[in-house]
């Protein structure tokens, strides 16, 4: 089973040279720690920076320099700041090649829910709806099941949706899945996790073809 950092590490293998990438809050943020050697990517944060760098050295943090998770960050050489309308022009206009975000639920037609639990938790969608409606490439980083052990990889989402038919790939603590016409296609297993365990943790239709390789981290 993968740790949250290992989920991020596996997603980082998907990065391609020259891509602009938007990382959501939580596990996706960790992807920046595992950029493969020789791959040149630039991180966009939708509150208004391209060329986002690591957290600042203690004592140099600046209230005017934060990411979309409201964390203090740094700007790398070549970075640029812009307003929110320009930022979402980059996103809706598909100038950002990859979006990585978290989810509470994903369904097998590619729907995603991650912003609201009716009557319990309403934080808002932030930029998630704009991101999922527009990105050509969306990878969801999530735990396969919730704390009670129930699957988050579903036939249909039960929570209010963030976007419809948009998720292409999912990396969980158990597996790498691709959303295809017939359901969730199992691509890789986490080290030490069996196909049966993944099957048990998946409520949606799981498509298993041939031997499923273990992830290489």
């Amino acid at each position: 089973m993968l740790s949250k950092s290992q989920i991020a590490q596996r997603i980082a293998q998907e990065l391609q040279n020259g891509w602009y990438v938007n990382l959501g809050i939580g596990i996706p943020t960790l992807v920046a720690n595992y950029i493969p050697e020789g791959i040149d990517v630039e991180f966009q944060s939708e509150n208004g920076i391209l060329g986002m760098g690591p957290f600042p050295v203690e004592g140099t943090e600046d209230a005017d320099l934060i990411n979309a998770g409201k964390q203090t960050i740094t700007a790398l050489p070549g970075a640029v700041f812009f307003d929110s309308a320009t930022s979402f022009a980059m996103i809706r206009g598909q100038h950002v090649q990859l979006t990585v975000l978290g989810a509470m639920e994903v369904s097998q037609n590619g729907d995603i829910a991650n912003w609201k639990i009716p009557g319990k938790m309403v934080k808002g969608m932030g930029g998630a709806m704009d991101l999922v409606a527009s990105a050509e490439n969306i990878i969801v980083a999530m735990m396969h099941t919730n704390r009670a052990g129930a699957s988050k990889i579903l036939k249909n989402c039960s929570l209010p949706l963030t976007g419809v038919g948009c998720v292409k790939k999912i990396v969980t603590n158990l597996a790498v899945l691709e959303v295809v016409k017939e359901g969730f296609k199992l691509i890789e297993r986490a080290p030490g996790v069996s196909v049966e365990e993944i099957q048990q943790a998946t409520e949606g239709d799981l498509i298993i073809e041939g031997d499923i390789p273990e992830m290489k981290l």
Partner: protein, 232 residues
């Protein structure tokens, strides 16, 4: 043209209960701290506030929420504020949650004389309920309308008395679009200079969008999530 006013009291003259206000900022970054304090002093109520976030419990718009001055919030993300969540779930506070990019564009459209626009964001979700859907290039989009406000209140790093503004870092965020969309736009700045002192090539918001500008003071610039690397 001189837009300079003496202080925050003069800048906020004419703000009344029941008005619609836009307030710049993302989280606590780039919020008009001085003007928010003045709104608390003025004790105006029944406000509709258009702002990406609602501050935290004891800072930013959270200060107005505590005093129940806000009737309705139009925002994209309201986490990190317990009082907000309590008022929303109990029904005391009306809340219109809209996608962040749509919020930014609705403000921009309001200032740019565009009454509405189509966006793919929110299609197939609660956000689309009651909105016109139309396909472009085989993809469904929803119609979003422009937003304007009685007063837009923005915060910049530097400004000149002609109302030209320069933002710093990620503190620009919603401020430039909101500046465009206010019937009256108030700008508070950390450093107010004379015309000619700002490089015209580096101005973000043109003074035409700003009606009142003043030198702010005592900025706290609170950090919401302090994340650092150790020295060495």
């Amino acid at each position: 043209m001189n837009k300079k006013v003496a202080n925050v009291e003069e800048a906020c003259q004419g703000i009344e209960s029941g008005m619609t206000l836009m307030l710049g900022g993302f989280g606590l970054c780039g919020i008009p701290e001085n003007s928010i304090s003045e709104l608390v002093n003025l004790n105006v109520t029944g406000l509709t506030c258009i702002s990406n976030n609602a501050g935290v419990d004891d800072f930013g718009l959270g200060l107005l929420l505590q005093k129940k001055q806000i009737k309705k919030m139009i925002s994209s993300y309201v986490g990190e504020n317990d009082e907000f969540e309590r008022q929303m779930l109990s029904g005391e506070l009306e809340v219109d949650l809209i996608p962040q990019g749509s919020l930014a564009e609705r403000c921009r459209a309001g200032g740019a004389g565009i009454p509405a626009f189509y966006t793919p964001a929110g299609y197939g979700t609660e956000v689309a309920e009651g909105k016109e859907v139309r396909e472009f290039n085989g993809k469904p989009h929803i119609l979003e309308s422009a937003l304007t406000a009685d007063f837009a209140i923005v915060k910049a790093w530097k400004g000149d008395t002609a109302g030209n503004l320069v933002f710093k870092g990620t503190a620009g965020n919603f401020n430039p679009m909101m500046a465009m969309a206010g019937k009256i736009t108030i700008a508070e700045v950390e450093e107010l200079v004379e015309p000619g002192e700002l490089n015209p090539n580096e101005i973000h918001t043109a003074g035409i969008f700003v009606q009142r500008i003043f030198q702010g003071k005592g900025y706290e610039k609170r950090i919401e999530q302090r994340t650092v690397r150790p020295k060495n």
